[in-house]
Subunit: 416 residues, 2 copies
DNA sequence: TAGAGTTCGTACAGCGCCTAAACATACTCG
DNA sequence: CGAGTATGTTTAGGCGCTGTACGAACTCTA
């Protein structure tokens, strides 16, 4: 938390001495961030924005140009009087990353460039609960192989691979400890993926929980959030939460955080896989919603599972609407708890909750209004995810790119 | 947050450029932290611990000596062969701070020195719900006046004043937005205190929630925690939580976090002041416990309120034991939620929960074991606070000292 | 069309901070 | 008492930011 922590890095960094190189790193990241977020900008404007000197910005920009992360763009944004500055812009194909999502309903890979554009996407659907971890990871590894090859053909340097999984991740060991909905326990996902890969992946591979990565994806690509403090509630068979405070992902000290699904919302409710009773997941999870709505003629997972439910909702099917309303109320209890504890001002509903938002919104809001103590001073925005079900893959791809953006000069060192 | 945020500072710092002065600041804090946490240490050992050069440590130590934050202590810890190093040690009276706690049952002030020793303590008991905010704050201001004078007499330079209040605090404005148990709304506590003060306080005054500050106090002075990630659950009439991840306090983006008391544990439970039903506070708060236990002949607040309950518990009074067990179970639900969301490995029970710990422990643990998903991989420690009811005052005093420890060279600048 | 005014980007001296190596100091061991 | 070792300080060197100065490029005005 301060310290939020980056996926893949150890949770508690040893106190490190600082020297001028760190100053350079920090300021380089500052300049790059300024260019990437505030559009085309001249060196002088960057200097004004960041508080650095024009001279300093000049040398840093030289290095970023050499690293291929930034490019000059002529003097488009001439502002009247005086010598026009040369516009600087983030070079989208200066770096890229491969995102991999392994979920109950299939595998998705995506090649995402530095600009956030998905340059390649491949999916393999099917209920993974029927297959062994080894078989799934072998498929996934080959899909990543293909994606790396595609990136190479597109001239994109792959700087990292991010992997999203639906379960508890041990960050230090890069091991998936428990994925109840997949039935996996203690799977060394990264090590196995590298083992099954045909080609060598010359870049870091980071593993993280899907809700955490979806939150990162939302932070990066999701429509302009008013703040960079929000919670992403990811709905599928399970329900997870990714917490972003001040732009930093808070995943708990050991990566086991964000397990919203097992919050108690109905102490006398149905038994849960986890051993407790009345877990949120049991009332707001996809399985329960479909069962309550009487949808039986659909696959139990994935996008396809929501489609028949959506058609019933649109038709005004009372049973379906009641089921979703009930889920919305349960979700409201969970969201209220999140907001009371974390004090975020925005909650984003992702996964299957995104398409269901129109029906979830009102009951959810009603519950939240009742239960959130600070509601009067700090209005809460609840909105569906823009990225929908691709948030996790995009976030997975973003994770390594984020490290790059936070320390842009590593790439020039490597090529030297 | 990381980013965690320091009480008193704005939640989202503008991206700032870094220069060599920041390097110095960082390394000075590193050296000071090393000396203060790892006992008496020679310059050479500090260099080895921090990774800095002996030369750098030398110059930094000179500055810290000049600032009066560190002192030399002869060559006590001679380690055999070679020239013995001169031991460096944190100078306890190099700085001090005044902590002020305003709670339902009274006001407490304390002068705490840099070594964490309480050098002066004064309390005024009585149910504050009977008095106006103005009267309470006037008393509090005068108590702080006295404390500042005492510190002056002891030769302690007062570097800051920390104020703990039981409610929602707006960090930016330094305003207490809502304290349901006091019946206060939108009180500019810091501004009022300075107004009522007789003497001028030449130092920063920071305001924060009592649970947050109690967590800071626990982090600082509470027995050696195995980790610096934990949650402090503070019990009184209300129930609050202070979350510390990797040594950083996470108070939410606007200071409204940690409201554990209004987590839902019994959807069909009794109505709560906050408008919802079945809040944790309604089942595990002091009022409810006393009522269930049949304790009517005691003040409703403060330490005295627990005493008759404790005697009944020790006597084996079944009604009292059942009441506390029920509170323990409710607390278990809340703690499980905290652990699932934040993934901490230690929970500290403070306030009135500390003396009740022997009776709360077992039912709480039972519930937690059932509900915490990661319990098998990451055992959870639940223990009572060492500081008891003084955690909040001590934490309040610590808050400004913490800023000083994080940037020790400010003091030498001021005196220059 | 020419000169004044303005802004942009770069070059250069200066300063602060860290590192590395050398040196003086102080103690133990044989 | 000298060799060996660890401590603390001194000095030269490198690096990064700042401030100033200067050439470049463009607009405005006469």
């Amino acid at each position: 938390m301060s310290t939020g922590s980056t996926p893949g890095s150890p949770a508690r960094p040893t106190p490190r001495p600082t020297d001028q190189a760190d100053v350079r790193r920090h300021n380089a990241a500052l300049v790059l961030g300024c260019v990437s977020s505030s559009g085309p900008l001249s060196r002088a404007r960057v200097a004004a924005h960041t508080g650095l000197t024009r001279a300093t910005v000049g040398t840093i920009v030289d290095e970023l140009l050499a690293a291929g992360l930034v490019s000059e763009q002529g003097t488009r944004s001439a502002s009247g009087i005086g010598r026009p500055g040369t516009d600087l812009v983030l070079r989208p194909d200066g770096a890229a990353s491969v995102g991999l999502e392994i979920n109950v309903d299939g595998i998705v890979v995506a090649v995402v460039d530095l600009g956030g554009t998905v340059r390649h996407r491949a999916a393999r659907s099917g209920d993974l609960r029927d297959r062994t971890a080894a078989a799934v990871l072998r498929s996934a590894a080959h899909m990543v192989d293909d994606a790396v090859a595609v990136a190479y053909d597109l001239g994109l340097p792959v700087r990292g691979i991010g992997v999203a999984v639906p379960g508890l991740v041990d960050l230090g060991e890069q091991v998936l400890r428990l994925a109840p909905n997949l039935g996996w326990t203690d799977v060394a996902v990264v090590e196995r993926l590298r083992f099954y890969a045909v080609t060598h992946w010359p870049c870091p591979v980071v593993l993280d929980n899907e809700a955490n990565l979806a939150a990162l994806g939302e932070l990066w690509r999701g429509g302009h959030l008013s703040t960079d403090s929000f919670v992403l509630v990811n709905g599928d068979v399970g329900v997870g939460a990714g917490v972003v405070l001040d732009g930093a992902l808070h995943r708990g000290s050991r990566g086991f955080g964000g397990e919203l699904g097992h919050l108690t919302v109905a102490p006398e409710g149905p038994d849960c896989r986890c051993g407790a009773r009345g877990c949120l997941e049991q009332v707001a999870g996809l399985d329960f919603i479909l069962r309550q709505a009487g949808v039986r003629d659909a696959p139990r997972t994935g996008e396809d599972a929501v489609t028949p439910l959506l058609t019933r909702l649109r038709r005004g099917d009372e049973r379906a609407i009641a089921a979703v309303r009930q889920a919305g109320e349960a979700l409201g209890v969970g969201v209220a708890a999140l907001v009371n504890l974390f004090d975020v001002d925005t909650v984003v509903l992702g996964g299957v909750f995104a398409p269901l938002f129109p029906w979830l919104d009102e009951p959810l809001q009603a519950v939240v209004r009742r239960r959130v103590l600070s509601a009067a001073w700090a209005p809460l925005t609840v909105r569906p995810s823009d990225l929908g079900r691709d948030a996790a893959v995009i976030g997975a791809a973003y994770a390594p790119l984020r490290d790059l953006l936070a320390d842009p000069l590593t790439v020039v060192e490597e090529s030297a």
